[in-house]
C-alpha cells in the first residue's frame, strides 16, 4: 500500500506556548497512500503537532515539509497550492454555521476553482452522498444536524477539492460505537477509492485497529514509537503497554490474535 515517498516529513519540531514546551524535537513521516494513526495521552500535543503541520501554530525550531515544500517558507502561490492539496477535519467539525451543508462543501470550490454553479452543486452533492448523506440534508444548517452528520459534512468539505492528504482530528470522538465504526469504514473506503494519505489523530483503539496502516505515538513531546498495531502490542515500553494493553487495549489485542 504505502510506497516510500513521504508526503509529510517533520524533523526536530519544537512548539511551545510561553514557558511550556509542548513538542520537544518531535520527528514524524507520513508516507504516500497510508493511514497514519497518531496517538498520545490527552494534552500530549497531538492536535498541536497537527496544527503546526497545517500552519495554524508557529514553531520555535525544526522543519516541516509537505509534498517536499515547507509551507512556512513557501511563497503565497506555493502555499496556496499546498493548501488545495490537503483537507482538514476539525474535532468539532468547524462547519460554517451560516452556510447550509451543501454550501459548506461548495465553499472551497467556490474559493479556489472557477466552476459552473451546476458542476459545483453536482460535485458537492456527490461528495455528500459519498459520505453517506442524502439530498435531504443539502439545505440544512449545521445547527440542525446531529453530531455524526456534522462530522460527515465536515469530512465531505475536507474532501471537496480531492486532496492528497486529509488531516482528521479525532474523527470518531463523540460518535456512538456504531457510528464510529461506520465512520472508520467510510474513511477506509474513501481512502482506497480516492488514494488518500490520511493523518488521523485519535484516541479510539478500535479506529487504530480498523483503519490505520501505521501508528505513531507521542509522549513527552517526542514521537516515541512508530509501527503497525502488532508492533505496538508487542512493545515493552511502559506507556505503550498501559495504552495498548490496558483493559480496553486487551480486547483489541485479543481480536488481533484471532
Amino acid at each position: 500500500m504505502s510506497s516510500n515517498a513521504a508526503v509529510i516529513s517533520v524533523r526536530d519540531l519544537v512548539v511551545g506556548f510561553g514557558g511550556v514546551t509542548v513538542l520537544d524535537h518531535a520527528s514524524l513521516d507520513v508516507f504516500d497512500g497510508e493511514v497514519l494513526g497518531f496517538v498520545g495521552g490527552s494534552g500530549a500535543g497531538k492536535s498541536v503537532l497537527m496544527r503546526a503541520i497545517i500552519g495554524l501554530l508557529p514553531r520555535r525550531h525544526g522543519t516541516i515539509e509537505v509534498f517536499g515544500t515547507d509551507p512556512a517558507l513557501a511563497d503565497e502561490d506555493q502555499r496556496r497550492s499546498i493548501e488545495q492539496r490537503w483537507g482538514v477535519l476539525f474535532q468539532q467539525g468547524a462547519l460554517f454555521s451560516s452556510l447550509t451543508a451543501l454550501q459548506n462543501v461548495q465553499f472551497p470550490m467556490r474559493e479556489y476553482l472557477k466552476l459552473s454553479p451546476r458542476l459545483m452543486e453536482e460535485i458537492a452533492a456527490a461528495k455528500l452522498e459519498m459520505v453517506g448523506l442524502g439530498p435531504d440534508v443539502h439545505e440544512k444548517f449545521p445547527a440542525e444536524l446531529s453530531g455524526g452528520m456534522v462530522k460527515r459534512v465536515a469530512l465531505a468539505r475536507a474532501l471537496a477539492l480531492d486532496p492528497d492528504i486529509v488531516f482528521l482530528d479525532e474523527p470518531t470522538s463523540g460518535l456512538d460505537p456504531i457510528g464510529a465504526a461506520e465512520f472508520d469504514q467510510l474513511i477506509r473506503t474513501l481512502q482506497r477509492t480516492l488514494g488518500l494519505s490520511v493523518f488521523m489523530v485519535t484516541h479510539d483503539l478500535d479506529s487504530l485497529h480498523a483503519v490505520c496502516d501505521r501508528i505513531a505515538v507521542l509522549s513527552e513531546g517526542k514521537v516515541i514509537a512508530t509501527g503497525s498495531i502488532e508492533t505496538m502490542l508487542a512493545s515493552e515500553h511502559p506507556w505503550l503497554k498501559s495504552y495498548f494493553q490496558g483493559n480496553r487495549g486487551r480486547q483489541i489485542a485479543h481480536r488481533v490474535q484471532h
Binding site: S97, E122, I123, P135, T193
Partner: protein, 377 residues
C-alpha cells in the same frame, strides 16, 4: 502531465470516445466544456464507448464528468458504456455511478413581491413577539428576585460584584470623557447663539436643565447599551450555542436566577451611578467652556447654577436611570437567549439588542417626560 482531452473515433453507427490526460480538479472547468460539447454532438449516436484506458489521472471531478456524460447520452437514447477501466479507477467510477440518482430537489424561488410582504409581516410579528418576550423575562426576573428576597443566601453576590466592575467601574473613564465633551459642546453652542441676544448667562440654565434631566441619562444609557448590553447578548448567546444554559437547567438551576438576575442588578446599580458621574462631568465641561470660551467666571457660573436648578431637576434624571438600566438589561438578555446555532444569528441578535435597547430607552424617556409634566416636576 498532458492536457486533458476527449478524442472521438467514429466507426459506422458507433463512436469511441477516448479520454486522455489528467481528468482532475485543476482542469474541471475545461473538462466540463469538453464533456458538454461531446454530449451535444453525439446525442443522436446510437452506440458510444467511453474509453478510459489512456487516462493518466482521475479524481472525483473527472469521474463525475464522465458519469455525467454517460448519463446524458443514455437519457438521449444512446447506449453508452465505460470501457478500459483500470483497477485503480474502478472504485471511483463505481462510487460515482451511485451518486446523484435522486432527482435534484429544486427550491422554487418565491415571488419577490410576496417575499417583500412576507419580510414586512415577519418583521412586525417579530417586533411584537420581542415585546412579549421582554414582558415574559420581566415576569420571570421578578419571580426570581422575590425568591431571592425570601432566601437571601441564594443571591449571587460575587457575580453581581463581578458584573458591577465590568459594566460600572470600567465604564467610568469613557462615560466621563464623553459626557464631559457633550457638556462642553452644549455650552459652546449655547454661548455662541445666546450671545447675539446678550443672554450669555442663560446658557447655564439651558445646559444644566438639559444635562440633568435628559442628556446625562440618555448618553449614559446609549453608552451602556452599546458597551454592556451587547456584551450581555453575546455572552448569553455564546453560552446558549455551547449548551451551557441547558447544562445549568439540567442541574436544577434557573438560568434567570444565575445569569440574568446578577447582570440586571449590576446594571440597575451601575447606571444611576454612571448617570450621576456623567452629569457632573457634563456640567464641569460646560463650566470650563463658559469660563475659557465665554469669559464667565466660575463663581458666576456656580451662582447661576444654584438659581437655575432645584432638587427635582436632578431627581428627574436619576429616577429614570434604573428603569432604563432595567430595559437595557432585559432586552440584552432576551436577545441573548434568542440566539440559535449560527454565528450569523449571534451577530444579528447583538445588533438587535443594541438597536432595540436604545430605541426603547428613548421611548421610555418620552413616557417619563409626559409623566413628569403630568405631576409637575
Amino acid at each position: 502531465m498532458s492536457a486533458a482531452a476527449l478524442d472521438a473515433t467514429a466507426d459506422g453507427t458507433s463512436v469511441a470516445l477516448t479520454a486522455t490526460g489528467a481528468w482532475t480538479v485543476e482542469r474541471a472547468a475545461e473538462l466540463e466544456r469538453i464533456v458538454d460539447a461531446a454530449a451535444r454532438r453525439y446525442q443522436a449516436t446510437p452506440s458510444i464507448d467511453i474509453d478510459l484506458a489512456k487516462l493518466e489521472r482521475l479524481d472525483t471531478f473527472g469521474a463525475w464528468l464522465i458519469e455525467r456524460l454517460k448519463r446524458t447520452l443514455i437519457a438521449a437514447g444512446a447506449t453508452a458504456r465505460i470501457v478500459g477501466l483500470s483497477d485503480s479507477d474502478r472504485g471511483l467510477i463505481e462510487e460515482l455511478r451511485l451518486v446523484n440518482q435522486a432527482p435534484a430537489q429544486r427550491h422554487a424561488r418565491p415571488n419577490p413581491a410576496v417575499a417583500a410582504l412576507d419580510g414586512i409581516g415577519r418583521a412586525v410579528a417579530e417586533m411584537g413577539w420581542s415585546l412579549v418576550l421582554i414582558a415574559h423575562l420581566l415576569g420571570a426576573l421578578t419571580a426570581a428576585a422575590l425568591r431571592t428576597i425570601a432566601h437571601p443566601t441564594r443571591l449571587r453576590l460575587t457575580s453581581i460584584v463581578h458584573h458591577l466592575e465590568r459594566v460600572g467601574w470600567r465604564a467610568v473613564p469613557i462615560i466621563l470623557l464623553s459626557t464631559f465633551v457633550i457638556g462642553a459642546i452644549l455650552a459652546q453652542q449655547g454661548i455662541f447663539r445666546f450671545r447675539s441676544f446678550g443672554a450669555d448667562i442663560y446658557v447655564v440654565d439651558m445646559v444644566s436643565v438639559l444635562v440633568l434631566r435628559e442628556v446625562g441619562v440618555l448618553i449614559v444609557c446609549v453608552m451602556v447599551a452599546g458597551r454592556s448590553g451587547s456584551a450581555y447578548t453575546a455572552e448569553l448567546g455564546a453560552m446558549k450555542m455551547r449548551e451551557e444554559i441547558d447544562a445549568l437547567r439540567t442541574m436544577g438551576l434557573d438560568p434567570i436566577e444565575v445569569l440574568v438576575l446578577p447582570r440586571v442588578i449590576a446594571l440597575v446599580i451601575a447606571v444611576p451611578l454612571l448617570t450621576f458621574l456623567g452629569s457632573m462631568a457634563a456640567l464641569y465641561g460646560a463650566g470650563l467652556v463658559c469660563w475659557l470660551y465665554g469669559g464667565m467666571a466660575p463663581e458666576i457660573f456656580l451662582e447661576r447654577l444654584r438659581e437655575a436648578i432645584w432638587l427635582p431637576t436632578f431627581e428627574v434624571g436619576m429616577i429614570k436611570a434604573p428603569f432604563m438600566a432595567l430595559t437595557i438589561g432585559l432586552v440584552a438578555c432576551v436577545e441573548g437567549f434568542e440566539v440559535d446555532g449560527s454565528a450569523a444569528s449571534l451577530g444579528q441578535r447583538t445588533t438587535a439588542s443594541v438597536v432595540k435597547s436604545i430605541f426603547l430607552v428613548i421611548a421610555l424617556d418620552g413616557l417619563f417626560a409626559m409623566f413628569f409634566a403630568g405631576i409637575g416636576m
